[in-house]
Point group: C2
Chain length 449, copies 2
């Protein structure tokens, strides 16, 4: 819960330099709550407050601060303090920050960081963006296969303070091959003298380091896991990804998809924190592309000038005709893109989807065409109404086809289906709609009115 | 991972009536994997396979089967077997199923279910759809405040088998007021003779039973919780919601938003499992509304027939002019709706957002207007280019305003901002765009060519 009363209190503490107060503020509240309130302060103020927290708490709070603010904070602190902070951060959080810092800065910090951590950082930095490797943490708990339950709990005790989760324990051999898994729940329930080898699960569900983070989130969601092990191509345990990371990935991927579907480029930050001109660029690029597409439609329409002059009612129905195709197409694209994102459709579903969408387009088109017939009679005559209704049937069917097939084609080509945004589908549908419309006019009414 | 080899194997087992094989299939695999494969079989086959699983496993697998398939399965089994199954299901999963079954069926089953469970079911059924109460489970673990760490672990052992999670333990008093929380991690790390009262967290973050499930998911995401306690207005513990439910809610809410933004009504099932005519209805309703809006635009355009005849180039730019406003508006709506859904914007941000979008609209409009000037010169003359460019500036600015303000207004009125779909924003922008366009023609060129 965001508590609006905490921030003014914190500001008073800063003003009065109330050191015990600031210490308590950091220690008593949940680190996420502390971070939330700190984000409203200046970098200098944040460091002053964090100076009164213990080392462990300072790191925890820092991890909950948003990446752009973390970057600002990093800029106002010396390398010695920064490297101490980074050394104690969770491996996945610190790699996110280091990626943003840039190579030169990282190389300057590296000598100040302990060798073991340095090795870990270099390895995690090497995994590609959006892969399972890029979000894993190496702080998982392990137990030996030869231990008893009682011994395993003892082993766990020594590891617990700095592991991301201790609720799943992994069994690995000397070469770190993943041999099994046991949950702390099972451990607590078992008798202390039970040999671990008797109760560990050996059929462990895992992902590969180079799997997409979306696959990770889907797997965690499907099996309700608290953590998911990540292995390399030799089945060696590389790290784990926890449930909270799955939530973050899912939220991030959904936001990215939604933005793309609305014809906005991928934002690195939230809408509110993205700088004005960055946002203008992410939007402008797409608007120019769509403007270009619309200009093509306009040129085509311009070439039909004689027809427009001959049958003046044609013009009135342009928005209706093109909107119908665009709307039906947007619906299809939306449904197909989301289904692909959720991992619900496999490639053997694709024929089924396309066939379904054609029938759906025909049904919806016939419905709209029928509804449109009467009002079209009012603004024109019956021959005009036939043209308008006929065009609506065709553009709606075509719209659903474009809207469903293009995202699937993009997926097949290894591109993000969400790039087929609603406005882009609408633009393609406008373009074909105009051609269909005027062609039907010529066929039904002829070139000479 | 979906393993395509498991299903044929299972079919062979069914064919050969391989009872030990089916038993092993159910017991060895993760229940989610068993469920995934079962979904490909007929209801009778599913019951045959599940008949060879132990009671606990049968229930677990059934919980992972999708709701529509659960409904089918329920229809092919007698009330005695069904009530036994329901009695052992997790409280949140069984309430989801019972809600679908309908009141008459539930009342028929109730006498067959143990009294304690019956009470639990009635209570959970009473919470409104989409509230925290509707997704909570009552199977949480509790410990007494007066216990030592060692005693607490003993208490936990007796509860562990049937609790949704045992990784967070709740401390409640005799009236079930929530007094504190301790994680199993802390318990494992502490000395066995430490009094619990010394180490429990007392400042517990919780949600209210009638809070929206979206708030629940956001809270769990923000604090990285494994479970979140749900309390009533007297701070009495009602239940908990676990991390996996948060993931489900987030996925479900994102899907609902995406669909609405693409002008598709809320689907109860996935795209692929929604019946054809249900989907046609969910799409058709919106298409008809949008068709009506487009018809209004067409009527207005029809009233400008004389102007269109006087300046034939006007017609060519209709798609360009209206698309620009619609595209910019869709972008704004997309950004604002997603920001509201993520809970990033508070109502004090709204002026800031509106002001930002006006400036953004002006900037993007001026940019597009400038880009459009030259090509417009080709299809018309400089006075036409002025009208086209001028209209583009205005419709883009207006589009961003409509696209950002309307979702915020909807939110303020307690409605879902995502109802302001991209096609609806485009329709509104079409309508105002046409009026602006022709008005500017009259102002710049006059009514007499």
């Amino acid at each position: 819960m965001y508590d609006p009363l905490l921030l003014p209190e914190l500001r008073v503490m800063l003003l009065e330099n109330d050191e015990p107060g600031m210490h308590e503020f950091c220690e008593v509240l949940h680190p996420a709550q502390v971070a939330e309130n700190l984000e409203e302060l200046t970098s200098d103020e944040i460091w002053r407050v964090l100076g009164h927290a213990g080392q462990a708490k300072r790191v925890e709070v820092f991890e909950f601060i948003s990446l752009p603010r973390q970057m600002e904070l990093v800029g106002t602190v010396d390398d010695a303090r920064l490297s101490a902070l980074i050394e104690h951060m969770a491996p996945d959080d610190r790699v996110d920050l280091l990626k943003k810092l840039g190579e030169a800065h990282v190389e300057r910090l590296m000598p100040l960081i302990a060798a073991a951590e340095r090795h870990d950082i270099r390895k995690l930095l090497s995994y590609p963006e959006h892969s399972a490797g890029s979000i894993l943490t190496t702080e998982y708990a392990t137990v030996s296969e030869s231990a008893t339950v009682g011994e395993a709990i003892q082993q766990l005790r020594s590891q617990a303070p700095d592991r991301e989760t201790i609720y799943y324990l992994y069994v690995v051999d000397d070469e770190r091959h993943l041999r099994g898994l046991i949950s702390l729940r099972k451990l607590i329930l078992a008798r202390v003298d039970t040999p671990l080898s008797k109760i560990i699960e050996r059929d462990v569900i895992s992902v590969q380091v180079d799997d997409d983070q979306e696959v990770v989130a889907q797997t965690i969601a499907r099996y309700d896991f608290i953590a998911l092990p990540v292995v390399d191509d030799q089945n060696r345990l590389v790290g784990i990804i926890t449930h909270d990371d799955a939530l973050d990935v899912m939220q991030q991927e959904a936001t990215e998809d939604v933005h793309r579907m609305g014809a906005v480029g991928t934002l690195e930050q939230s809408y509110l924190t993205t700088p004005f001109f960055t946002l203008a660029w992410k939007r402008g690029v797409w608007l120019v592309v769509l403007f270009g597409a619309a200009f093509v439609t306009s040129s085509i329409l311009s070439s039909y000038q004689d027809l427009s002059a001959m049958y003046p009612w044609i013009v009135a129905f342009i928005p209706l005709v093109i909107a119908s195709g665009g709307n039906a197409g947007s619906q299809s694209a939306t449904l197909v893109i989301r289904t692909l994102a959720l991992g619900e459709a496999r490639s053997d579903n694709w024929h089924q989807i396309a066939w379904r969408e054609v029938r759906m387009g025909l049904l919806l088109g016939l419905g709209l065409g029928a509804i449109g017939f009467l009002p079209a009679m009012i603004l024109t005559r019956w021959h005009g109404a036939i043209v308008v209704s006929g065009t609506v049937v065709m553009v709606v069917t075509l719209g659903t086809l474009i809207g469903s097939l293009l995202p699937m084609l993009f997926k097949k080509l290894g591109m993000d289906p969400a790039l087929m945004s609603n406005p882009l589908i609408a633009a393609l549908s406008d373009f074909t709609g105009i051609i269909l419309y005027y062609s039907l006019v010529v066929i039904v009414l002829g070139r000479n009115g």
